[in-house]
Symmetry: C2
Subunit: 253 residues, 2 copies
């Protein structure tokens, strides 16, 4: 959608339905083949990338807006969302100002306003997610943390802040639960933690501690068909998990 007519319609529609000056941007984390991935969108005909985002209806709760936006991008309905920061540097809007500035006069152009953006991070099951581009994008795809594109606006900062928050909250939020599939092996879970923390952990100590939390249930049958010794399958005991999270996994005083 890049025609002048389409843009004009979008702007008129936006002015009528959305709260001005406020946007939502989401960092959607998924975990695949031992790598943390993030959902990114590519601008049509440009090597420019951005995070899934959108605007808030005039009478819509913030988190509901984030959910609505992400449902469009992922087809997922109930998504674990965590608000982590508002980005509001007036400079961040300057790049916005320039968007489509040749196609529409500033007065009509929705994008020629200052925007504060509310940052959410989302945790999704990689295998359940079907990435869909939005109307400004050419594509929507997963990119590993080790292979991130150049982002528009302050989206690199937003992503970095989300990741920092994720690391800090690793012990307080059900991060494993939301990122892993229903059943998984201990080495797979360990790889998730290693990917988030970006460091190697000791297999034996990891397993001891994880099991010590009492939030995992071991399946009777190990996973078969792999090329090596069959690993046990685990799943989260959601009840115990949520109880443990209320306290936080780690003490502190």
């Amino acid at each position: 959608m890049l025609t002048k007519k389409g843009l004009k319609e979008f702007c008129a529609d936006a002015r009528e339905n959305y709260l001005p000056h406020i946007s939502i941007d989401c960092v959607v984390f998924g975990f695949h083949e031992g790598i943390m991935k993030v959902l990114v969108l590519k601008v049509q005909n440009e090597d420019e990338w951005y995070l899934p985002g959108g605007f808030m209806l005039k009478n819509e709760p913030i988190e509901m807006a984030a959910n609505r936006i992400l449902k469009e991008r992922t087809t997922l309905d109930k998504i674990f969302l965590q608000q982590f920061n508002v980005f509001g540097d007036p400079e961040r809007s300057k790049e916005h100002f320039d968007m489509y500035k040749d196609m529409l006069p500033a007065k009509e152009n929705w994008f020629s306003n200052r925007f504060l953006t509310i940052g959410y991070y989302a945790l999704v099951d990689f295998f359940e997610t079907n990435p869909n581009p939005d109307q400004f994008a050419e594509s929507c795809e997963w990119r590993g943390l080790d292979d991130l594109p150049d982002f528009k606006l302050d989206h690199a900062l937003i992503l970095k802040t989300a990741l920092d928050t994720l690391r800090l909250q690793l012990n307080y939020q059900p991060i494993g639960y939301n990122l892993m599939p229903k059943e998984f092996t201990m080495p797979e879970l360990q790889k998730l933690y290693e990917a988030i923390l970006d460091k190697k952990l000791d297999r034996r100590n990891f397993q001891r501690r994880m099991l010590g939390f009492g939030i995992l249930t071991r399946s009777d049958e190990p996973r078969k068909g792999g090329a090596h010794k069959a690993p046990y399958l685990y799943s989260f005991d959601l009840e115990n998990y949520e109880a443990a999270l209320k306290e936080g996994f780690k003490g502190g005083w």
Copy 2:
């Protein structure tokens, strides 16, 4: 400031200078006589209370707006501020809608809009702070966490969320440094932690751990003139403190 004329002027001025739909509310923590206190404002002629807050100039960074607002309330210039949440439930604005609704038609009334409010908590030195009411308030004063008034809007929720955040961040933010005066005794610092965490700590273990962080400098001279054994005075070694904070006081993996 409650005259129709004054309100009209305020609204006209606000519409011209502030971003619409966005406000800032601050939970200002101070520590005095062993109790955590919060700065609260009282509505003129009503037993209604609210947190210090305000609006953002159209081209002003968020944190600068929070600083400006708090400078007016506290006379303090460089304040430790931490953004912790945006509150945007459409219901929260309903009470706003009613404000001054008899004095001005909705179209002119700045307050008859939906507002998302960005929550900041601030940590200040109680003794350096001079509370000043804003134009809608009759008074601005400290209230202990054990003696909080009934708040307007969702300000009780904002305060609770700030406090929860403060507890979680106790090991990652220079909370002691900002709340204590330059020099303090170990029992005083312990009382701060006990007030924040709302539980008793063991004197000996607290001291051992605190000193173990290597962020305190013990003054040569103990505090004299007290009614009991003269306690040592400590101050924060800012350099070590900030280095330690980068890591966080506690490990986690």
